[in-house]
Structures are given as C-alpha cells and as structure tokens.
C-alpha cells in the first residue's frame, strides 16, 4: 500500500557515517533512505548574553537545505536575504530538542552549535536532523570529556526523532516525500531513548484527526525511536 512497499510500521534504512568532515568537533552524515543530512557540531567558549556568567552551557542549532536538495530547485535562502518561516521553525525545534537531552550544568559555560544541512531531501528532514544532530553533539562532547574540559557526562539521554502520519487512512511510520505530500495528518515525535517525550507536533492541514488516531501515531513513534536509538548507540561507540 505504501509507495515504497514498506510495511505500515517499517522505517527506512538508516545509515550513519561519523567524521564526515574534518574541521568540526563532531560530524555525521545521516541517511534515512534518500534523505541525507550533514550534521556538524561546533564548540565555542562564548555563550549567549542571557546566560553569561551563569555557569550554564547552551546548545543551539541551525538548519539549511542546499538549493537542489529537492526535486525542483528552491531559491537559496542566502540569496533571497532571509531564512524562511519553515527554516526558522525547524531550527528552533532542533535546538529545543537537543537541549532537552543535555545537562547544561555539567556542560559548563560553553556553546555547542549544531548545523544540519540537507544535501538530499525525501521527507523527514527535520527528524533526521535531530537524530543525526544528536550524534554530532555526542561526538563533540566526547572530545571535551577526553580533553578533561568536561568531567561529568552532560549527555543525560539519547534524543531521536521520527515522523508518523495518517496516509491513505492508515497510521504509518517514517513518511517519505511521496507520502508526506499526500498525508492528511503529519506528526513529529521527539523522544529520549527510553520513550520520555520531549516534543510532540501533530498537524492536520485542512483536515482533523481523532484522539484514537493520535494514540496510534504515538505507538508507531515509540517503535521508530527505539530503532534509531540503537543506531545512534552503534555509531557512537
């Protein structure tokens, strides 16, 4: 029934290549099927003004898409002079999600910026960014710990994200672009490895959904996150 032939609760194949770029303190190229996102983590000693002197660390994120990551070329945001609403929304979500898995006292007064750049898109780029961004962050923090700059591990729990939606009337896991563009309801679920919720976003454009459908989507998301957490563990050990 699904265009890809996957089962309703079947995720796309996940591949993670760490150390994809040499300059960043942590980096990973994550592939969720044909969605490919390059995630890098940059450590800086400065923090935003609102926490200066607090002893707390900060994790923030930026998101971008290469112009031809998509089927038709999109205008380059740098050329159009601003980040679109969708971009801003996504990068705020990534930052919030990653912060939920970090003990900012243990991190100490430093900032880590996670850049998520979509090289190729086929649906689910924000979720891939969070899952891959966590890996880049984990690797950067490992470097801090190895250097003795951070003593107690601030990465309290792995953070992963997966989309689910109602496609052709059925709850399905990990929508690809053909599904996403047709789905009546579309949800993004960000959780810890132990299924604690960090962020839930369910949205019906020009449509509605029932509480039962909502519950079915959360069930699927829990299955997906378990698999992603395993992949994250394998990639960072």
């Amino acid at each position: 029934m699904r265009p890809s032939g996957r089962a309703l609760d079947e995720m796309r194949s996940v591949s993670i290549e760490t150390g994809f770029t040499k300059h960043a303190e942590g980096s990973a190229l994550i592939k969720m099927g044909d969605t490919h996102v390059l995630c890098t983590a940059t450590i800086e000693d400065r923090v935003p003004p609102f926490i200066k002197g607090s002893g707390l660390g900060w994790v923030t994120a930026e998101y971008g898409m290469l112009p031809r990551a998509t089927n038709t070329r999109m205008r380059r945001e740098a050329a159009s002079g601003k980040q679109g609403g969708r971009t801003v929304e996504i990068q705020r979500l990534i930052g919030r999600s990653l912060r939920a898995g970090v003990d900012r006292v243990a991190l100490g007064e430093r900032q880590i910026t996670v850049d998520c750049d979509v090289l190729q898109a086929d649906g689910g780029t924000r979720c891939a960014s969070i899952t891959g961004g966590w890996i880049a962050l984990r690797l950067a923090v490992n470097k801090l710990m190895k250097a003795g700059d951070v003593i107690s591990d601030p990465m309290v729990d792995p953070v992963a994200a997966i989309s689910c939606g109602i496609y052709a009337g059925q709850p399905v896991l990990d929508l690809d672009y053909p599904e996403d563009s047709e789905a009546g309801v579309d949800g993004n679920f960000i959780m810890t490895g132990s299924h604690q919720l960090i962020e839930v976003q369910m949205s019906a454009e020009g449509s509605v959904f029932s509480r039962n459908q909502m519950d079915a989507l959360v069930d699927l998301a829990e299955k997906g996150v378990s698999e992603l957490a395993a992949a994250q563990k394998a990639a960072t050990q």
Copy 2:
C-alpha cells in the same frame, strides 16, 4: 497552588467584543484574562499564485504584538526589519488551524486574511489569536453569505485553541504568563468544537514528560475547548 488562585482545570474568564473596528469585514477583541488580542478579517478577491484558477479559497493569518504589550518593552518588529522566528511560527500555526475548519471549495476563489494583534499579553496569545481569529473569520464569512457571494456555509466546524502545561508538577489548564514562564512542559491544543484534533504541540524545554502526562493535558484541553466553543457561539449569534 496556582499564582492566580484558579483551580487546576479552571480557565481564565473569557470576554469577546465583536465589531471592535469599523473597517474590517469581521473583527473581535478577545480577552482571556489579561491577554487581549484584536482580531480582524479582511476579504480580498485575489488568491495566492499557487491556487489561482483552482476555484479554491484561502485563509491566511498574520500575528503581531504591540511593543509594550508585554511587561518590558520589546523592539518593534517593523523597526528591526523582520518578523522574529516566534512570530513566523505563530502566524503559520494560526493560518493552518483556521484553514482546517473551512471548506475551501465552498469559500470560492477568494482570500481572507486574519490579523491578530496582541494589545496586552499575559500568556496564551497564540491560542487567544486562534479562538478570536475564528470569530473574525466567521463574521466576515457571514457578510459574504448575506451578500449572496457565498451560498453554502464554508465554516464547517468552530475552531478553538487552549494551552495546557505541567506547572509545579501538576497538569493545569490555560497557563498565564507567570505559569508559562515556569512550566516544564507547555502544550497548545487546537480542536474543533466536537474535540476533533487539528494541531497538537507539546514541548519540554530542558525537560521531558511521560505519555500519561500527555494524556492528562489532552483531557484538560478538551474541557477548555468546550467552554471556548460555547463563548464563540454566543458571540457570533
């Protein structure tokens, strides 16, 4: 336990003044306690390029805050040269939510823009904007129907929104600013009058929440939306 002395499931008092401005096709000043939002609906014959010639209508929204709507003055977005990420996120949410309650075929090829401007803020401005924006939209559509420009009512279901969150460890309904700034988990629920879900956003900044807590918040939201739908009905009859 709540700073305002309200019960855990008690909403702030709601007041709705329709016809607050004379130029707009529909307008309402909605007050949720000390949160005051002026909502206006503007009908235009043109539609966005991507639906030109489709026969479908469009509903969109813009959101703004007066600089001193808040406790300390914020920089005017027109002066700083762009709408912030929070503003963009909120106005996209308002537009999506209102579209979910509209039959765009019945509306016909025209656009209605709902402007939600916060005159005074005390938490929950995006939810008040949706609830009040629906009223302005309803009144504008009434005018179209009275004039015979629209025959079959495109307003399929009332749309209302309420925030809930975990405050001091307890699920509470309709957070005001003192609660919102302290809450570990913060959710916005947009529903139809009959509790069909349109959008669910739950977010934990630097924290997590369980599935049980999620369910408790949805329960509260259903109670709140029922009361708001009644107030909407009273104001537009």
Copy 3:
C-alpha cells in the same frame, strides 16, 4: 458643506481612556471621532549613546498602524521588512514635538519611549498620536514623581496637535479621511497649551496657497489646541 456635517471650525468629539493597558508606565486610548490611537509610555534607565553621561533625559516615539486600521488592508510593515517613509516621518515628528514640552534636565538621565499604534484610522492619526502620546508621557512622569525618582516636574507645558486644511476652498478644522483625501492644502500644527508653536507643517500637493490662507489655518489650529489641552487636563487629573 463638510461630509460629516461639522461646522468649519468644529473638531470631532474627543475621548480619552487612560490606563488602557496594564504593563506600560503610562497609557491612553485616544479617539478623535473614528481615529483611535493607543499610546503607551515606557520608562527605561538607559539613554541613547549621544547623551550618555550628560545628565539629560530623552523622549522618543514610534508609530505604527495595524494592517486593517484603514479601509483597505495595508501590508504589515514588519512583514515587508521596513518602516515606510510616511511612518518614519511621523514618528520623528511625534518625538520632536513631545521633547519640546519636556525639561530634559529635570527628567534626568533616562529615556521614555512613546509608542503610538493606530487601531482605527479616519484621518489625523499623527495629530491624535501627539495629543494622546503627551497623556501617556504625563502619566509615566507622574509615576516617576510619585516614586521620588524625579523631583521637579519636567513637563513644562502640555503639547497638542491638530490638523487644518483647505477643503472645497474653505479653511476647516480637524480633517477626517474623506476631507483629507480631497484637501488641496493640509497642515499639522503642534502647539503648547498657551499657543506657543512647536512645529508647523503646511503642504500643498500639486497646488499652492496664499499667506492669508496660511493665517486662517493657524487661527483654526489655535482654537483646536485649546480644546485639546482642556481634554488632556481633564484626563490626567
């Protein structure tokens, strides 16, 4: 002869509601007929760089219009990415006018920002902003004096503004929008309560006027300002 049926030297009815918003140190909703402007005054301890350390205070103003304050919806300035020329001109005028009525030594090294936001427009918004802005400023300064932060009253003289113009060949007082859009000559007069001049702007678009006509407009303006000063006094006592 006038569309509204008013006498040539008859102002629209004035209504002033102080304390319209709760956060600002001073606030007033001023209505000149169907022109409604919300004015708020915000006190801050910082001053602009060019007077830092001088001991002098500063009064500045910002002006905005809600998108549907007018008969047809205007584009939101925050969305278009800048304040238009008209907006910039008006807010500079408001700031200059209010500063003329303030003893900046007595005010002390602090800044008061007066925000004038037009909720509904029917001509004369800049004049209503000045007259109402003075009230918000007066109320904010009262608060400073009550708290003992300011000893000697810096509000040396009330400041009010009124428009006059040549409509259908006749000098008329307080143009509303139908008159304003037809007037050959259009003037704004900012004065103290005792008719000392602060700013005079007379402008003929595609037309000219004689010195006699100029004098007739100043006469009308003096009458209008007397009435406005009385209304300001009543509202702030």
Copy 4:
C-alpha cells in the same frame, strides 16, 4: 553677529552650472555658499502604477549625500542597507514641492525623476536640492518641448526653497551649518516665484516660538525666494 558675517537678511552667494553631466536630460550643479548639490532629471516613458492610463505625468525625486560631503564621514546608505529617515523625509519633500509647480496634464503620461546628490554640505541641502532640482527639471522639459513631445509648457511657475531660522534670538535668512546646528527654530519655505506657498515647515527642537516670530521668518523667506527665482531664470534662459 552671524558666524559668516552676513547681514540677517543676506543669502549666501548662489552659483548654478547647468549641463554638469552629459547623460541626464537636464542637469545642474547648484552652489549655495559651500553647499553643493548635483541635480539631474531623467525622463522615462513609464509612470507609477497608480496613474497608469490616466494621461497624467509624474515627477518624483531622490536625495543622497556622498559619505564625505560632511565634516565627519557618514556611513554610506547603500552599505548600511537602507535610506535613513532624514533622507526619506527630504526626498518626499523635494518630490512634492516640484510637483506643485507642474501641470501634470500638460506633461503627459511620463515620469521625470530628479536626483539630488549632495557633493558638499554646509546646511540647507534640502532647499538647494529643490531650487536646483527645479532647474534640472526645467531643462529636461525644455528638451521634451523642443522635440515636440510636449506642446504646452507644463512648468506653470518656478519653485524655489530657502531656510530661515531663529539664531541667537534673531530671525535670519539662509542658515549655514554653524547656524543650523545652534538654531532654536528652523524653517524651510518652498514657494513659487510669485510667493504662493507650497510647503512650510517650521520646527523647534526642545523649544517653542511665537506667531510673531513665525511671521518674521515668512517675510525673510519671501525675500530669499525672489532672489533665487531670479537666479533660476538667469540660468535657464
């Protein structure tokens, strides 16, 4: 008493060099003492959208200052990404003033853009721009008439502008920068050659002025405009 040693009613020496640049349809370098403004007029066949098809012409203006036209270097507006409020105000004034002297029916459906660029500033740049801009406009219109594109002369009356102000308690004509920066009251008067008024702007920053003082300034302005009109006539014959 005046820093320059001029009499109270004495204008700076005026020099006008027409044809200063070869590309523009009309051009003039006007010097009012040390204030030097290059004015060019460009004829285009298109008109702004709001008068398309009306048969009416349009005259508009733009104003700029070279970064080192002033005593200390100012930031280039093109580099800072926008025209400042002062620039916008001035160019709107120039456009309005020039339009007042043009019969837009006789001009026919075309646009003339007058660019006024200050090469060196010593006070009174907006007035010099109007006086010199009128010359550039006159020359461009002469070209249209010579070519037979315009039959009846649309330049109904010469337009000139002069500043006056209260300096050291005395009304003075044509303020230079040392006077302007000290003057309590500062006025700009735009008139036709026969003393019909087009625009009057009088402004007291942190001060006030009486109606008698206002009258004295208008008297001085009439004297100045007579001299400027003579210089315009000499330059364009």
Copy 5:
C-alpha cells in the same frame, strides 16, 4: 618546502564522484585534497528577462559554504541576511567561466543553474567549483541531448580552473589553505582544455610581483589545467 610536502608543480589528488545527489539533472562531488565541493546543475525552461525571446541559452552559478566547512565556524549567510562580497564575487566568476565554454545558440532558450556548495574547505574552493561545476553542467547537457531536446553539443570546450601563487618566494601550483593564507601573490586561472584563457586573476595583497613571476604562474597553471581536463574527461565518459 611546501607544508604538504608536495613538489612545487604538484597538484593535490583529484577525486570526482558523479551522481552524488539524485534530484539534480547533473551532479558531482569534487575533491581537491581536503577541499570538497558538491556541484549540481539544474535545467529550467525559463531564461533571464534580458534574453527572453532571443533563442539563446543561459548558464549561471551560485556558490555557498556550509558554516563549518572551515576551521572555525562562519556565520551562515542565510542567517546574516545577505551573501557576502566574497561569495558574490566567486559566483559571478563561476558563471562567467562556464559560459565561456558553452555555445549558447546550440543550448537553446533555457537556463542551467550550477550550484557549488563547499562541504569542506582547504583552499582553492572557487577553482574546484569551476572544475566540478563544468562536470555537473556536462552531465545535465548530456541528459538534454539524450532526450533530443538539444541536437548539436553546446559544450564547445572543457573548462577547468586552478590556483597558483608565490609561496615562500617560489611559484607553486594548487595552493592549499596553509599556503594560501601565507602567499604574497595568489592567482586563479580559468582555461579551456587546450589552454585558451578565459579568466586570469592575480592579486597581491600588501605586496607586488614582477612580470616574470606572472609568466611562471601561467606556466604552472597550464600544467594543472591539463591534468584537470583529463580527470574531467575520465569522469564524464
């Protein structure tokens, strides 16, 4: 003598992976040592306004760097609201260079946009962009020819680019970042496979160079371009 241990006339190893992304009509990841650039070519039926209806085609380019492509993180251009001067200069150069190798009549009235995005930088990104961009363009044109949309091959000659400079007093080929940041003279040479020149840029910041040195750099560049043209041929056959 060179930090990398390369001979003076030794280029870094070149690797080209075509088809790196699936959506673009042509794509290649080119690696010049540690400089990695993803190049994609997008075919569109529209052309820029200035050649509409001429029957001629157009080739244009855009250039970007991921924020952490470099040793320290650079601000994202989309976030800072504009493309920097260096970016604009480079993308204009890429476009001009590629157009020199294209017969725009044979291409027909369509536009090909070549996006060059630097995933990792180690000097020479603009040259790698041109060499790799030509490959993406070649592949996209192949697709047009295969589909019969273009009959006669518009790719008249391969285009490649290499940097040379004076490092530690010696002319060297293909500067990497450690050399580039120290070099007194820095040149970029864009040529066809048969050593016809398209663009030469030699620049000495705070220094000068002799005509003999210039000739030595051109000699090196010819050697480098021969090797690059061979690699391009191998990758596109």
Copy 6:
C-alpha cells in the same frame, strides 16, 4: 578604427582637480575622458577589529555611482537596500590595490577610507577610481606628515590602474564605454609606477583569448600606467 578615433595605444585625456571638496582630508576629481570620479580620503583614528592593537594601519575603499552617471538611470543602491555584486567587487579591488602601495607600519594604527563616487561614467570607472583614489590618499597622508602624526612616508610607490581589451580583434588601451560593451576580452591592470604588478584581471565573457593576446595587453597597460603615474606626480606636487 576606434569609435573615438584614438590610436590603439592612446589613452583618453586625463585631468585631475585636487581639493574638489573642502571637508575631506584629501580629495580629487579625476576625469578620464568622459568618466568623472570624485575621490575623497577620510582619516579616522579607529581601525577594524582584526588589527586593533597591532600598530598597523588600514586603508579601505567604497565605491558608488550616482543613479544618472550612466546613459540610462540605474536604481539607487541605497533605495534598493543593498550594494550590488559589481559594486562590492569593485570596492574590494580598490581597497586591495591601494593597500599594496602603503607601508602599514609607517602609517600607524589609523584607518583611511577612500570613497570613489562616479559622477559621470563612460567606461573604466574602477581604474579611474584607483588612480584618483591614490591621489586622495596621497594628499591625506601628506596632511598627516605635515602635522607630524606620521614621520616616515608610508606611500612606498604610486599605484595606478588602466583597462585594456581586445576590441574588434585588436588589443587597445583604455576602453571607453562603446568599446567596453563590445570587447570580447577586457582586462584591468593595477601596477606601481615602476610596473610592478599588484592585480591583473582578464576576463572573456563567452569567449577565450591566447597567451600572446594576454602579453599584448600587459604591454599596453605598462604604457598607460607610465602616463598615469606622471599625471599623479604632477597633481600632487
């Protein structure tokens, strides 16, 4: 053969008027035929952040064109909200070129900004800007030396620039606009008075050139620069 009737190696007549404006520390109006550029040099005590405390000086440049410097009016960059790519490229070139002729240690920790504003354009504006900009810089440095603020002359060598190109198949010196717009190859050569090279830019849009042609252009440029250096010397003695 050339539209102007000049010999192939004949430059346009050069005229230099120093002290064209009174405020700048150095200024010159340079005319290369009908190309007229006003160059001013401004001395400031601050330097850019990246050299603060280094004891080194800085020279930078900005470039602009008056809207009607050209045959058809161009949009004012300040009005369009940004400097175009061409402007940015040119002003970076001017700055780099002038810095090559300055001993930044001898200059001391101060910045000189050279503004080059094109009053009238007929090809070769960037070269005229460099040649004239050097004069303004020379005059400003003279002022510093006369005041004893700079002891050892930091102007190590005169810097001049000239364009050459292949026009109608022939190498020609100093292209004017009619030649420039037709030329297949276009080069800019910046040299010291003793023919040391600072910057070479040769560019063929949609065309190529041989190494022999390149050599012929350099020969012409050397001749042109000798003449310009003589004119610079005459103007600054």
